[in-house]
Amino acid sequence: MSVDPTAPLISAKRLVKRFGDFVAVDGIDVEVRRGESFGFLGPNGAGKSSTMRMIGCVSPISEGTLRIFGLDPATDGKQIRARIGVVPQMDQLDDQLSVEDNMILYGRYFDIPRAECKRRASELLEFVQLSDRAKSKIEPLSGGLKRRVTIARSLISEPELLLLDEPTTGLDPQARHVLWDRLYRLKQRGVTLVLTTHYMDEAEQLCDRLVVMDQGKIVAIGSPRQLIQEHSPREVLELRYPAGTNDERASEVHGIGHRHEVLPDRVLIYTDDGESALAEVNARGSQPESALVRRSSLEDVFLRLTGRSLVD
C-alpha cells in the first residue's frame, strides 16, 4: 500500500471520545502535517489527553474518523504504534532498573535487537545529555532527569511522530528550557511533534500551529502569532490593586484600551499601546499598587475565548 507523502500525518474528522455518559472529546477536526510541531492547548479536563490516547492508538475512538499515516487505528493500531514515540503524562519508568536497562527493555517491545537497542540507547542518552547516568538507577533521579530519560526512551524506535503529553508539567524553569531545546532539535531533524500543554509559553516556544481546546471542543486554531493577533490586541497592561478591591477599582479605568478584564488578583487592560494606557490610568488618578506592560500571550487568547484563565 502506498501512502501519499504530502497527505496529513494525522487527520481527525468529527472525532468523539465518550466514557459512559461523559463526553471527553466532542467532535474535533484536526490535521497535522509531516514535520510540523502541533499543540493541543487547554486547561485540565479539556480533552487533550483523551485525544492523545486516541492518536496513540491505545484508546479506541467513539465516533468520527481518525487516520494516522493514512492508516486506521481500529485495524492497523499495531503498525501505527510501531512508528510512534510516546512521552506519557506520567513517567512509566521502572525505578529499580538502570536508565540504560529501561531503554533497552522498551526497545525490545518494538522488536529491536538487544545490541541495537544498546547502541541507540547510548546515542540517545548523549542527545539528552545523560550519558553519565546510563548505569544509574531511575529512583534517585530528579523529575527533570526522569523526563529526559522518558524522552530518550520514546525515541529508541526512531519514531516519525512523537506524542508528548504535558512534557514539562511539574518541572523547574531550567529543566523546562533544557527539554524545549532538545525537542526543538528533534523537530529540526524532521520528527513531527504533537504535544499537549497548559503552559502558554511552552505552546509559543514549541508549536508551529496549535488548537485551543475547552470542554472537549476546539475553540480556536492557528499559529501562536495568528491566534494572538486574531483574538487579542498587541499589548496588555496589568494593574494590581489592594486585595479585594479589583471590581470597584476597575470602573476607574473603564474605557481605556480596547477592553478590560477583571481577574481575582489583577485587572488586565488590552491595548495596542501599553505605555500610553498606563499614562491615562495615572492621569485619571487611579493609583494601582503596581503596573506592568507586556506583550499579549496565548493566555490572553484563552481568557478571551473561554472567559476563564487557563491554569486553575
Binding site: 466514557f19 496513540g56 491505545v58 484508546s59 479506541p60 493500531g77 499495531k78 503498525q79 504504534r81 510501531a82 510512534i84 510516546v86 506519557p88 506520567m90 513517567d91 512509566q92 519508568l93 521502572d94 525505578d95 529499580q96 532498573l97 536497562d101 533497552i104 527493555l105 522498551y106 525490545r108 517491545y109 518494538f110 522488536d111 535487537p113 524506535s157
Partner: protein, 260 residues
Amino acid sequence: MSTPATIRAWESHFTLYRTIWKSSMLGAVVQPLLFLAGMGLGVGALIDRGDNSERLLDGLTYFEFLAPGLLATTAMMVCSNEAMWPVMGGFKWMRGFHAQAGSPLSPGQVSGGLTLWHATKALISVTGVAAVLALFAETRSFGLLLAIPFGTLTGVAFAAPLTAWSASRERENSFPAINRFIIMPLFLFGGAFYPVSQLPDSMESIAKVTPLWHGVELCRGAVHGRLGVGQAVVHVAVLAGLALIGWLAARITFARKLAA
C-alpha cells in the same frame, strides 16, 4: 530475527528479576526449608511415634509426607503475591503495562507476557525447592523432575485468576484480605501438613475442590512414585482449567484497563 511479542513482553519482567534474583530465590527456598525443619523434624518426630501414623499417612513418614507438598505451597505463595502488588504497580505505580500498551504490543500480549512470567517465576521457585528436596534421601527421586512441572502449573493456577482480579481493581485494599482469607487457609487446610481426610467431612469436601489440594496431591504422588494416571489427569485438568480461565479473564481485564 523477530521475537514473538509475548516473549518480548515477558523480557521486561525477567530483566527486573535478574537484578533481584538472589534475594528472591533465597526467600522462595528458605521459607519451605524452615517448614521442613520445624514441622518435618519437630512435629514429625511426634507423629511418627503415633500408633497408626503409618496407616494415616499411607505408609509414609511425616517428613516424606510433608516435604513434596512444599513444592506446591511455595508455588502458590510466590505466584499469588506476584499476581497482586506487582500487577497493581504495573497499572498504577510504575505503569509498565501502560508503557507496553503504547508500543506495538497489544493488551493481550501484555497480559500473556505476564502470565508467561508467572509460569517462569513458579518454575524457578519450584526448581529451587526441588533442589533442596534432592538433598534428602527421603525425597530424592526422579519423581522430583515430574513434580517440577506440576508445581509450576499449581503456581499458574493461582497467578492467572489473581492477575485478572488485580487488573480489575483500582486499589490494592483487597490484597491483604486475599492473603489472610484465601492463601493462608489454603496453606493450612489444603492437605500440605496432614491428609485432608483428618478434617471433618464438610471441610474435607471443601479442601478437595481447592486448587492447592490438587497441586499437593500431584507433587506428593510424583515424588513418591504413587500417582495413578487417572488421578493425575483429574488434578492436572482442574489446575489447567483454572489457569486457562484465569488467563482468559486477565486478557479481558487487561484490555479494559489498557484500552479505555
